[in-house]
Amino acid sequence: MNTLRNHRPREGQKGFVLLMVMVLLIAMLSLGMVVLRETGERIKQGASARAQASVSSALMHGLDQAINELRSRDPVTLSEQNWDIFSNPANPNFVGPLLYPDVPIPGQDQVDVRVGLRIVGRTRPPPGEDVKSNLGYVAEVLLSVRTQPGIIGSGSEERVAVGLQVPHTASHSGN
């Protein structure tokens, strides 16, 4: 009988230890899960930030390319073609198509940058320009950055219309 009495406390202790172990395991598991979840979230957030940064950079890249194109292009040609890629995606690009990043790294082919252009209308000449001989135009640089599902996240397209006051002079010498 005593044996039984003595056996019962040891079994109780074992159960308690087991319980504690289990609790500990559960706690550790929970912690691990939290850590995993947080890590995953962080990974997700980092990917999103990277995606956003990539999109922003791609937008700026597209804008820079548009500006570079404007720098070298005779402005008289700005109304020759319809580069309004927003109203009709089938319209040709003002610049491009571009890939971003423009260096061979993983994911290079997952960001498409399109650059369009649209003359919105006339406005005042820019500051510091003679109002008699100068005009101002509002030109919209139309930027489209499309990401494909992949390393940097799910696919999306970000569009930005950047309004620029474009200086322009009257056609002829004189005023």
């Binding site: 922003s56 937008l59 500006i67 404007l70 720098r71 070298s72 292009r73 005779d74 402005p75 008289v76 040609t77 700005l78 109304s79 020759e80 003359i119 919105v120 209308g121 006339r122 406005t123 005042r124 000449p125 820019p126 500051p127 510091g128 320009e129 003679d130 109002v131 008699k132 001989s133 100068n134 005009l135 135009y137 509002v138 499309r146 799910s154 696919g155 999306s156 397209e157 970000e158 569009r159 930005v160 219309a161 950047v162 309004g163 620029l164 006051q165 474009v166 200086p167 322009h168 002079t169 009257a170 056609s171 002829h172 010498s173 004189g174 005023n175």
Partner: protein, 1110 residues
């Protein structure tokens, strides 16, 4: 999914990126109200009006007027009126002065007006002002009746004119006794003294020693010394008359006999017993009858016969002493007679006694009379020439010219009226007004020209007068000039210059084909020069419009016969006034009036024969044909290419794009005004593009063998009705001095927008003093059409530069108009005249605030001040510096002007009232927006009416910021206060110039740089003034060259500068002055620090993001 990207919006807002040289542009300002000839020392023009009694004879000798009433046919009157008709054409070319001389009462000068070199306008008014000028004061100096007493001379010298040709009048007593004893018919002297002399019988206690009296000697002495001069009658017309005898003999005799009687009465108790002079009480006519004496006094048997009174040709008649003029020369010289009117006149022109004309000339430091002086003097005598052939005239002329010896007298040379030519020539002229005495006038002219000009000019011929004046001005003004701002194409690769030449006396080394001062047109030319990428001009022109190989080819495009009259094809009517292009006149003549007179013909000049750029060196050039473009004006050449503007968006963009495409390959045309014609010259053809300043041009223009050929020319309808048009065949008159503007506009609005709604429109303003305007559709330069050919309302002058505006309207039809001020000497107002939508077109005017004499000579500037998307306000500056703003109000029809707001008065605004009376504003304002979108008006002061005489004047350049439209209160706030940055040295927008530095041409603004040129008057009119360039940052006013401090003056050479040109590609500033037309006058100043450097700035207006999930 959509969301805004505030991050990017904030990143971009307020910042600016730069683009490449989107479009290469030049300055916009072209209006120069000065004349490049204004830097020359205008010659003094001294007019001598002869008002002697013979000038009161009718010009045709059909009548003689000795009374107070004036006939318009009298010689002096005809001459005066002729001169008054001609003088206005030369108002700005001479410094006018003059005097009036006559021989009645005495030979003397009775009126004068000294020339004022520093004030040509005042000088002109002093001579020609209606009613008050010297010319109109002549009527108060007419000779009324006889005698002329021309033997009396100025100064009241006690010179005796003897009765007999004997030394010291030794024979006069006997001659007088002979008159007593043998009087001519009409003279009765009853009784004779009982003895030659007698002792006085006066009763005095105690009795003094009794004097004796010799009444005959007393009479003779009284006649001789009492101011009496024995007359000098002659048989020439007007040389003797009953009135003259009565006045010159009977009257003085009566006076002296009365004096003798009084002397006898004091000497003798019974004077009548000695000599009964009681007949004197019966009146002069009872014993001395001029009418009877007229027929006897100088006849054989008369005691006067053979005396000097009837025949003064004997030199001994003047043996009593040499009569000297104020000029230190004898007034009379043998074999001349005693009439000295012309001598007195010529003497006055050189007399340097204080207050006299010669003294006024000497007082001018820059007069050629003084060391280093260059201002010439011209004397013009308006006379019938009577007594002009007297030797004393020659003596005085010698003094005025080169000196010499005449009648044994050595005359020193003063040279008052010698020209400043390489080989000085006389500048004295006789303008003869009479059908007789031509010989005397010719002789006088010969005297006044050292024999170079044998025949007088005719004062009743305005033509001769104009030619003579024009030749004088040609000699004085000879040279090559420009008053036109250069025209620079939008690619900054070609520059068009508008120059003209004035031909003076030929030099010994000149080729035979070189014109001389008789070639009166001021032939002008357009020169096309290439400019490199650094803004450096190639000195040799690619082509010029007066090259014979070009000028003789005729028009490239003669417009259709339907518009032929206006396009210069009306040969018979306008050839003599305006000239014609080669090919339209079978003789190849231009500017022709008189057959056989070469001065008006088209002129062939051999290659290499001319100094083309004014540096006194013969230049390399091909053979020339002058005379097909007779300008001498200041119109900037406007280079018109294909339209390069962009559609404004919306439904009409397609139509506008079609318009652009339709005209993309049209020719380059250079337009300018010259002598009443709008000239169109072929400039080049379109060619494939090439990179320039980093821009891949889609196309460009290249000249070819036809470049500089005349395309067509157009004569506006108002040219023949221009007052000076009449004289255009004789004198270079400024028929057109205005400017040209060309713009792309929307002329019409179709239900379905079409390309034909748009057009390239040219507007040309006639210029100073006139009201003419033209508007043409030059979309197709081969088939131009006239939109409107009209004149501004009465009182408005087209002197200000026209600017074409697409005006706001609430209606459906677009409104295109030109906006101008009332112009120089015009109504103080704004005018807005429509050029489309005829026949009513549209007109709006607005009176502007002004004091008496205050006008608005320069062009206004209109802009969108409120951001409403169209012209909202116009700004204008008066001659006195008053800055005015006027709103433009939209209507369904033609827009109207709102009230005028004077920004120069009132609290918190400009206060220029203290300077209004001292500073003048002749350069148009320029306007731009500052970084805060405030309107900025920039302009400077300077007086173009005095560019030759320094007077320590202080001028300023103003940067006025109008903050009104950014204030919620709407209170006017236009000010120079705090409009600059401290880094410029001052926060004030009032920039002080150096003393005598004038802003004479409009400022320009481009790429954030405001640049303006100035002219600093030389030490005298003989020292060329200097041109300077200043430039500053549009926002801070910091010097745009140095990048720090106040804008400093950069020396850009001699002469008057035109407006500068800021080159967008090279960042250099290109300038030009009037002094020369060669490379020395065309300067590319150093680089300015523009906003954005070589790239145009872009302002980012918005960032509008959208995100879509795929």
């Amino acid at each position: 999914m959509k969301r805004r990207s505030h991050h990017h919006l904030q990143l971009l807002a307020g910042s600016a990126v730069t683009l490449g040289a989107l479009l290469l542009a030049s300055s916009a300002q072209a209006q120069n109200l000065w004349n490049p000839l204004d830097t020359k020392a205008n010659p003094n023009a001294i007019v001598g009006f002869d008002m002697s009694i013979t000038m009161r004879i009718n010009e045709s000798c059909s009548g003689c007027h000795e009374g107070a009433g004036i006939s318009a046919g009298e010689r002096w009157y005809v001459a005066k009126e002729s001169l008054k008709q001609v003088a206005p054409l030369f108002k700005d070319l001479f410094v006018w002065g003059g005097f009036t001389y006559k021989g009645c009462g005495s030979a003397r000068v009775v009126d004068r007006s000294a020339p004022i070199a520093s004030d040509k306008e005042q000088s002109y008014d002093n001579v020609f002002a209606p009613g008050t000028g010297l010319a109109d004061r002549l009527s108060s100096h007419i000779c009324i009746g006889r005698p002329t007493k021309e033997y009396l001379y100025p100064g009241g010298s006690a010179v005796v004119n003897c009765l007999t040709p004997t030394a010291l009048c030794a024979g006069d007593a006997a001659a007088l006794q002979n008159i007593y004893t043998n009087p001519p018919t009409g003279l009765s002297l009853p009784g004779q003294p009982s003895a030659t002399s007698t002792t006085c019988t006066m009763t005095m206690v105690p009795a003094p020693p009794m004097p004796s009296i010799n009444p005959g000697a007393l009479l003779g002495a009284n006649l001789a010394t009492g101011g009496y001069q024995w007359p000098r009658w002659s048989s020439s017309p007007g040389g003797i008359s009953a009135h003259m005898i009565d006045e010159e003999f009977c009257g003085p005799m009566e006076t002296q006999l009365t004096a003798v009687r009084n002397a006898l009465a004091q000497c003798l108790v019974d004077p009548d017993a000695y000599w009964d002079l009681s007949f004197l009480s019966g009146g002069r006519g009872s014993w001395c009858n001029g009418g009877q004496l007229l027929n006897s006094i100088c006849q054989p048997g008369s005691p006067f016969f053979g005396t000097c009174a009837c025949d003064a040709t004997s030199p001994a008649c003047f043996s009593s002493g040499t009569i000297m003029s104020e000029c230190g020369l004898p007034l009379t010289l043998p074999p001349a007679t005693w009439q000295a009117r012309q001598v007195v006149g010529v003497c006055e022109s050189i007399d340097e006694t204080s207050g006299r004309t010669g003294a006024a000339l000497r007082a001018q430091p820059d007069n050629r009379l003084n060391a280093g002086g260059c201002r010439e003097n011209v004397a013009m005598f308006f006379t019938d020439g009577t007594y002009g052939n007297h030797t004393a005239v020659q003596a005085h002329a010698m003094k005025a010219l080169t000196g010499g010896t005449v009648s044994g007298i050595t005359v020193p040379a003063v040279g008052t009226y010698m020209s400043a030519d390489e080989v000085p020539q006389p500048n004295m002229y006789v303008f003869h007004i009479s059908s007789e005495a031509a010989g005397a006038a010719n002789t006088m002219q010969s005297f006044l020209s050292n024999g170079a000009i044998p025949n007088r000019f005719r004062a009743n011929s305005q033509t001769e007068m104009r030619i003579a004046f024009a030749e004088v001005t040609n000699r004085v003004m000879h040279g090559t000039y420009t008053g036109a701002t250069p025209g620079l194409d939008r690619y900054e690769s070609w520059v068009a210059f508008h120059n003209f030449s004035v031909f003076g006396r030929k030099k010994a080394a000149d080729h035979a084909s070189v014109p001389d001062d008789k070639y009166l047109p001021h032939p002008s030319r357009i020169s096309l020069h290439r400019m490199d990428a650094n803004g450096v001009l190639e000195s040799a022109p690619f082509c010029e419009t007066d090259w014979a190989s070009i000028a003789k080819t005729g028009l490239m495009h003669q417009p259709s016969s339907a518009v032929a009259a206006g396009f210069g094809l009306n040969v018979a009517t306008h050839r003599d006034k305006l000239g014609l292009p080669w090919g339209l006149d079978p003789t190849g003549r231009a500017f022709l009036n008189y057959a056989g007179d070469v001065r008006y013909r088209a002129h062939e000049v051999a290659g290499g024969a001319l100094d083309r750029d004014g540096d006194d060196v013969y230049d390399t050039h091909p053979p020339l044909t002058l005379g097909f473009m007779n300008g001498g004006t200041s119109t900037r050449p406007v280079i018109v290419d294909a339209p390069r503007e962009l559609p404004s968006g919306g439904a009409a963009s397609t139509a506008f794009n079609t318009y652009l495409a339709n005209n993309r390959t049209r020719e380059r045309i250079v337009y300018t005004w010259s002598n009443g014609y709008l000239h169109a010259f072929y400039g080049g053809r379109q060619s494939a593009g090439a990179p320039r300043f980093g821009v891949n041009l889609q196309y460009q223009y290249v000249p070819d063998a036809d470049s500089c050929r005349e395309y067509w020319r157009y004569r506006p309808t108002w040219v023949p009705s221009t007052p000076d048009y009449t004289y255009s065949n004789l004198v270079k008159v400024p028929l057109t001095t205005g400017q040209i503007a060309v713009r792309e506009v929307q002329l019409a609005a179709s239900a379905t927008p079409s390309a034909s709604d748009y057009a390239t429109v040219l507007v040309g303003a006639q210029g100073k003093g006139y009201r003419g305007l033209i508007a043409m559709n030059v979309t197709n330069p081969q088939a131009p059409t006239v939109l409107r050919d009209w004149t501004l309302p009465a009182g408005y002058f087209a002197s200000s530069e026209p600017t074409i505006y697409q005006l706001p309207t609430t209606g459906t039809q677009p409104k295109v108009a030109v906006v101008m001020t009332g112009g120089e000497d015009g109504t103080a107002g704004l005018v807005m005249a429509g050029i489309n939508g005829g026949p009513g077109f549209g007109l709006a005017t607005r009176a502007l605030p002004a004091n008496a004499g205050e006008d608005y000579p320069t062009s206004p500037v209109c802009l969108d001040a409120t951001g409403k998307g169209g012209i909202s306000h116009c700004y204008a500056v008066s001659r006195w510096g008053r800055l005015v703003r006027v709103s433009v109000q939209s209507t369904a029809g033609f827009p109207t002007f709102g009230p005028a707001v004077d920004l120069s008065s009132g609290a918190g605004s400009l206060d220029l009232t203290s300077t209004a009376t001292s500073r003048r504003y002749w350069a148009a304002p320029v306007a731009y927006f500052d970084a805060n979108n405030n309107v900025v008006i920039a302009y400077g002061s300077g007086n173009i009416k005095n560019l030759t005489t320094p007077n320590s004047s202080q001028n300023y350049f103003y940067k006025v910021v109008d903050r009104t439209f950014r204030k919620a209160s709407g209170v006017n706030d236009a000010t120079t206060s705090n409009s600059c940055s401290p880094t410029s040295g001052s926060i004030s927008g009032v920039i002080a110039l150096d003393l005598d530095e004038h802003v004479v041409s409009p400022a320009v603004v481009a790429k954030g740089v405001v640049a303006f040129t100035t002219y600093r008057v030389g030490a005298s009119a003989c020292n060329a003034g200097n041109a300077y360039l200043r430039a500053f940052n549009y926002q801070t006013c910091v010097d745009a060259f140095a990048g720090t401090g106040a804008p400093a003056a950069k020396d850009i050479g001699t002469g008057i500068p035109t407006s500068p040109t800021i080159l967008r590609g090279s960042q250099a500033v290109f300038t030009q002055t009037s002094a020369r037309t060669g490379a020395a006058a065309r300067t590319t100043a150093s680089i300015v620090q523009t906003e954005g450097g070589q790239r145009l700035r872009l302002r980012r207006l918005y960032w509008r993001p959208t995100i879509r999930t795929l």
